[in-house]
Symmetry: C2
Subunit: 328 residues, 2 copies
Amino acid sequence: MENRKTATMKDVAALADVSIATVSRFLNGNLDRMSSTTAAKIKDAIEKLNYVPNSAARQMITKASKMVAVVVANIDDYFSTELFKGVSSILEANNYTGVLFDTDSNPERERQLIQLVNDHTYDGLILQPLTESAATIEADMKRDIPIVVVDRELIHSPWTQVVTNNYEVAKSTTSHFMAAGYTHVVVLTSKISMASTREERYAGIKAAASHVDVLEVSEESYNHTQVHQKLVKLITETTEKTLVFALKERWLLEFIPSLIVQGYIDHDQATATAFSDTSTARNIEPRLQLISQDPYLMGASAAEVLVDQLVSHRRPTQDKIIIPATLR
Amino acid sequence: MENRKTATMKDVAALADVSIATVSRFLNGNLDRMSSTTAAKIKDAIEKLNYVPNSAARQMITKASKMVAVVVANIDDYFSTELFKGVSSILEANNYTGVLFDTDSNPERERQLIQLVNDHTYDGLILQPLTESAATIEADMKRDIPIVVVDRELIHSPWTQVVTNNYEVAKSTTSHFMAAGYTHVVVLTSKISMASTREERYAGIKAAASHVDVLEVSEESYNHTQVHQKLVKLITETTEKTLVFALKERWLLEFIPSLIVQGYIDHDQATATAFSDTSTARNIEPRLQLISQDPYLMGASAAEVLVDQLVSHRRPTQDKIIIPATLR
DNA sequence: CTGTTAGCGCTTTCAG
DNA sequence: CTGAAAGCGCTAACAG
């Protein structure tokens, strides 16, 4: 039990007085091809020796690990973690395990992780990419395993993509508020050009709104009160009714509550909406109408596509799956 | 490039016209033991063949994967993800990679994951356990790899534990509010007996407060308005000043904002505090005094201990590391 | 029902 | 400076 060298199949075979082939069969569940006496002896030996199969050796032969890498942009985002839960649910039902990696919104890290996944025996990859270029990823993923892209769109993607209807829902939401008289839209967002998701949302808003202002906030460093003041200014310096449209839940949570408390967001002269994946904001102010994505479903869908490729060994059948977000 | 069988070291050796031993040396950075001509030839061949080393084969020999499993209780918690980031920062500086697994607060899943980690060639494990019993874990982890426990305490732990000073900070916080006249404490929490962390926090509160009520909320299913009403009742039915003490950030975020809006939490007759890891609550109401843990530091500390064991091959030197939380 | 044997792709002595 | 060869622990024919 102490520091004994870890037992191998050979040790088990010796103790059970059978051949290693029989042990292997036992391990792989071919119990029908063996007397119950033998099976019992092997079972005993395994327990006695505290034997645990060496997965590396097995992988080397079977060329499969039953593990799928899930690489997300930021595990601090509820979106990413919920996505992973959706992925895991499907994977596990199919006897695979998902392992989660975090690029931390860092393109350099994304490269490293893709190389890591490439180097290790993962059977598949589900990726929420930072890059917009499929070519870059292909260059690093030399091994030929199934890949599914989620959330962000890639240029010339050879892989199936699972995305939200960002453009459409941003547009229809904006129209909805326009109809209610909010003709002035203030877009509150991280640097738009950093993610395809944001670009599409922004495009959707512009397609519907007549008067759009943009307030870009740096994810890492920003001055809270300064942004706050700019928001107040944008809301008050016009006679139009203003809709503050946060492209990301975080910005809603950071700035809208104080604007509400201070009376700027009064749901009359000004209101707010956002892409929001949790129920936190709604708990704070139930009157907010927000756009909800379904990251869990997106993950599950992505995993389904991946598993299909894994078991069928065929190329993706669909190139884009859209999981709609809804205003509610 | 298409469906060509993945190249092996043998192929590289053949193309470069050297032995596989030389290729192996090249791969492992022993460039000093080879002429630069040879190195160049090999480099060429590798690129031409799109060769990527088979990590399973390597692991089989070296018995190391340079990967550490991090098993957390719930990746939706900011605490868990921030912990992972702390872990990763240290791991990566030491040339290891952290991979994240989620038990989803499900003891059954925890067992499965521990077995999974046991079966695969992870070099170490950082665990935020659900179980309180070290024995259970030891039974499943037959392979003898270094383990570090974080956040929750284990009974009779053979491994180093990295924890917060839950008891002390809960007690001192309660005292702090007692001194300000809040003699009635309402503890808002998930089922206390489910986690050692909560038990300690609760004990700390009881040690300092004279009049304590407990409101246990089920993580999965609970009636928002019903809990809300109970809170209101508890606050108003006494003449004492009340402190609502949320043992977890989530409950603060779920219930306190509406209590503030409705004027129940007025920072006079009633106030609130909580263990809180993000800045969301403070953005909502800057006057709240909250207890902040440092999950990132906890993760980093745990990883440091682990790496130390990994490289030194010796048993843990400390049995408990306390990362204090602070009220601010 | 069970054993023998040939590798999987790589690292690592040990010789040159 | 480079190569030959012996495994690492396991699976999968192929025999019996």
